[in-house]
Subunit: 295 residues, 2 copies
Amino acid sequence: MDFKQELKQYQDLMNSELEKYIDTRECPEEVLNRSMEYSLMAGGKRLRPILVIATYQIFKEDIQECMPFAVAIEMVHNFSLIHDDLPGIDNDDFRHGKPTNHKQFNEATAILAGDGLLNNAYRVISKTLENSKKEDLSKKIKIFQEFSDSVSKMIVGEFVDTEEEGKQISEETLEYIHRNKTGALLTLCVRMGAILAEASQEDLNRLTAYAEKIGLAFQIKDDILSEEGDEKILGKPVGNDKILEKCTYVSEYGLEGAKEKLDKLTKEAIEELEVYNEKAEFLIELAKYIKERNK
Amino acid sequence: MDFKQELKQYQDLMNSELEKYIDTRECPEEVLNRSMEYSLMAGGKRLRPILVIATYQIFKEDIQECMPFAVAIEMVHNFSLIHDDLPGIDNDDFRHGKPTNHKQFNEATAILAGDGLLNNAYRVISKTLENSKKEDLSKKIKIFQEFSDSVSKMIVGEFVDTEEEGKQISEETLEYIHRNKTGALLTLCVRMGAILAEASQEDLNRLTAYAEKIGLAFQIKDDILSEEGDEKILGKPVGNDKILEKCTYVSEYGLEGAKEKLDKLTKEAIEELEVYNEKAEFLIELAKYIKERNK
């Protein structure tokens, strides 16, 4: 398997799917729509929707059923980026190498574009429920519930992260932040794919464990990149965490300690999937990619 | 009917219902929960949830079915107030006579409390779908869809309002703003009550017309109060619209013109409901109250 090529295919698929949801009408709120589009199409890795689809594909082939949920989760992810970047929260000027939403537009637009993307995610879910076959409703409603619970966790994680900035925090609090801030949504993605594909409870547990491990690994890698990444590749300044006295896995365990933790989690995540053989090859490679990525 | 007393009973009912949804646990995000509670329990009129319930009661008695939607709409309303008050949007310091959320807490908390309330509204809806009888799912999914569409309209209305601030705008744009910013949610409330109660299409149309008229009337009255209300009763400064050069029904039609429009709309709204006789007495009195209120 050529992982990079598969990844690119998934990304292209998602980009063209997302484009279908962009409102290009001439209307009084056109600038708001451009602002949502700006962030949604800013060149994110599409990790979350890809997790939904690739998990689904362990069990089933026709991915049409996944697409609305893949779109919705990417909208939520981008809502969170826009709001986290705001002057009132992280006050970041760049994201994916481009000005952040409030820098490109203005603060009011960025606040409302974030609100709009969060709400649009639920519009997409409501439409998929409306158009669903009766026999598929119950699993989709379960997903809707897990979706909304996970978004709340993400908001909570961001809040605690903001609150604790500059304070000395315990390992427990650090884990709490990331289990909520990034972990909850990544776990949701994998669970959505599995639930939609009608995986067994055993499979769901296994995949949830995989997701929790790569979620934590993802955050540790982010912290490592923020410390020693390449600014040009990352598209954002490096070393800011130290200046802001952010508590990260690097500040908590040191660079070497963080790397060891990352190795261990990646290994364990992969072990969870070995039972699926080549059906899970992409997700296994994805775990390695999360560990090895340079942006 | 003693309207004031009935209104108070509805408000008390809603206040105790909303309290059930307040998270009082000791947890790392406790301050965020306090911030959401602060706005949600700040003494709003509960107009939106009351519209849901009172409309339902034209047709059916047992209002339990309405309550989750009544709660969800009040959460959305409060999300919108918190975000609209932010320094990046309207930069308001007072609401209901108390410091606005970002003044009482801080900007980051207010942004995330707004996000949290919007998302919690959908958590409430998802739980009500999860616990619903199969035969009630289809109307509730229809409501979920209208709900998410109306919230999008509200965000759009707020955006256009912000964009057009200080500009000379057409009557058409002014109507566009308010049909979206306040009208969409008020109409949604009445429609939710009617759809839940399984009203006929004819009833739904009639009630939608009523809602659209009181929605516009509500905004016109707001503009009149912003111009000539009593600061102490309103709990916020009067005359700000002029200073901010906001385009309002008063700036567009003059104080007398706005009052005439308000009278006409109230009369027409009431006419829509005459067919229901005493079953709609509360909604008729509510239309009069919207016109005559002093806050």
